[in-house]
């Protein structure tokens, strides 16, 4: 019987984990340890619900409700001097919680501080666009939609950005395999030659470790070149490393190693 593999997370798994292994945690500290962060958090708490807040690796993480995202970011930008949205994207937790986690990485140049705002939404839920506040979110949100299928409301141009327009599936979801589904495997063949050409061109070779030393069609042989498709199973012809034919080439002078100047110092 084949072993059961869960379909909700098809990413690579560790093949062995000790039964008593307990993963350590990256240290979290209280926000009150840092005066600047404490003041910012107090300001946010006065106006919005804060579900969780802590400092991890010198950056404050604030977890908020998903429908507050626009107003919290607006508040941070206008009141707390977090003038740049340096990064935003999503994390797929569909397999465990059925939710997407969305994080906004903010930077305050005046205070030299970085804050990460996080919120969670359901799979079918949409999130409010922050493109009006930060133009950089325009492309980030499109990328998030492209990779995860998270729909963003009030976005001016909600289309795929990295994958082609007619692509199927959202590549960074945990349910999407690394090497793609069938649609991905035949995408370029279908598009250029049509579906009927699939048999002629053949399936992709997805095994990177495959080496066949007698296959002269798929393997280049540096220093032992033979014409394409030659059968070398009976032993290959001896091909010394030559740049020109032995008898010389019509109207082309042969290179003479003895007459040439060899530069040994590269920075001469």
């Amino acid at each position: 019987m084949r072993a059961y593999t869960p379909k909700d997370d098809v990413q690579k798994k560790s093949y062995y984990t000790d039964r008593f292994w307990v993963a350590p945690q990256v240290a979290k500290s209280e926000v009150s340890d840092d005066a600047v962060f404490a003041a910012d958090l107090a300001a946010i708490k006065a106006k919005f619900d804060v579900l969780d807040a802590y400092i991890q690796v010198e950056q404050m993480v604030v977890v908020i409700n998903a429908n507050d995202n626009y107003s919290v970011l607006e508040f941070l930008k206008n009141e707390c001097e977090y003038t740049q949205l340096s990064e935003m994207s999503a994390i797929d937790w569909l397999a465990t919680e059925g939710k997407f986690e969305i994080f906004y990485q903010m930077l305050s140049m005046a205070k030299r501080k970085r804050v990460r705002i996080k919120c969670k939404i359901d799979e079918k839920e949409a999130i409010q666009s922050v493109e009006k506040l930060f133009r950089s979110a325009d492309w980030s949100e499109r990328e998030m939609y492209d990779m995860f299928g998270v729909v963003v409301n009030n976005h001016p141009f909600m289309k795929r950005i990295l994958m082609p327009e007619d692509w199927e599936g959202f590549p960074l979801r945990k349910t999407y395999p690394l090497q793609g589904d069938e649609f991905a495997a035949w995408y370029e063949v279908d598009k250029i030659f049509g579906k009927e050409a699939r048999e002629i061109i053949g399936p992709e070779n997805r095994d990177p470790a495959r080496i066949d030393r007698y296959d002269t069609q798929r393997f280049s042989r540096l220093g032992h070149e033979v014409p394409f498709g030659t059968d070398i199973s009976q032993g290959e012809p001896d091909t010394p490393l030559v740049y020109q034919e032995k008898e010389g080439v019509f109207m082309v002078e042969k290179f003479d190693a003895e007459k040439s100047v060899v530069i040994s110092d590269r920075q001469r």
Partner: protein, 169 residues
């Protein structure tokens, strides 16, 4: 009227070389390979380096052209993605006959380290390839060696007969 009679049998011979059409045509073709710039990724940088000062591609007669209609060699340098695949075929179709393709680097040969959903696993799924050049990224010397191998290949071809249809549809 001709005052100076040249004695061709004594003074260095007749200014005529006897050869076959094949050799003349192949000499011309193999020593003026104009390549289409097809820098897709990292290998494209090495392709530029081989055209630049130290490696000096011009001495092989290889000059990079930006238009497919002026080029006869396509050096596919870098990862070909599925989104880009149709454009490479389009540009290949626009090149005039005779045309050759060098697939430069592991990504172009087999997909290389990018064994993912988004990369074409070898450009030979889309266009016919004459020379595969291994390496990630291949050094400029390697590309120049590949061009020399291609020159040998061109010299073996017959110029008068029609080109054999290459692999792939």
């Amino acid at each position: 009227m001709a005052q100076h009679q040249v004695n061709y049998l004594k003074d260095g011979g007749l200014p005529v070389a006897l050869t076959t059409i094949d050799k003349v045509v192949n000499w011309g073709r193999s020593n003026s390979i104009w390549a289409l710039t097809y820098g897709l990724a990292c290998c494209g940088i090495e392709m530029m380096a081989s055209g630049a000062s130290r490696y000096d591609f011009d001495r092989f007669g290889t000059i990079f052209r930006a238009s497919p209609r002026q080029a006869e060699l396509m050096v596919v340098a870098g990862t070909l993605t599925k989104k880009h695949a149709e454009f490479i075929r389009r540009l290949y179709d626009q090149m005039t006959e005779p045309k050759w393709v060098i697939s430069m680097g592991s990504c172009a040969n087999t997909g290389g380290m990018f064994n993912t959903y988004a990369t074409v696993q070898g450009v030979d799924r889309v266009i016919p390839v004459d020379l595969y050049l291994p390496g990630c990224a291949p050094r400029p010397e390697t590309l120049q060696y590949a061009v020399m191998m291609l020159q040998q290949k061109i010299r073996k071809e017959s110029a008068s007969r029609a080109q054999k249809p290459k692999r792939l549809m």
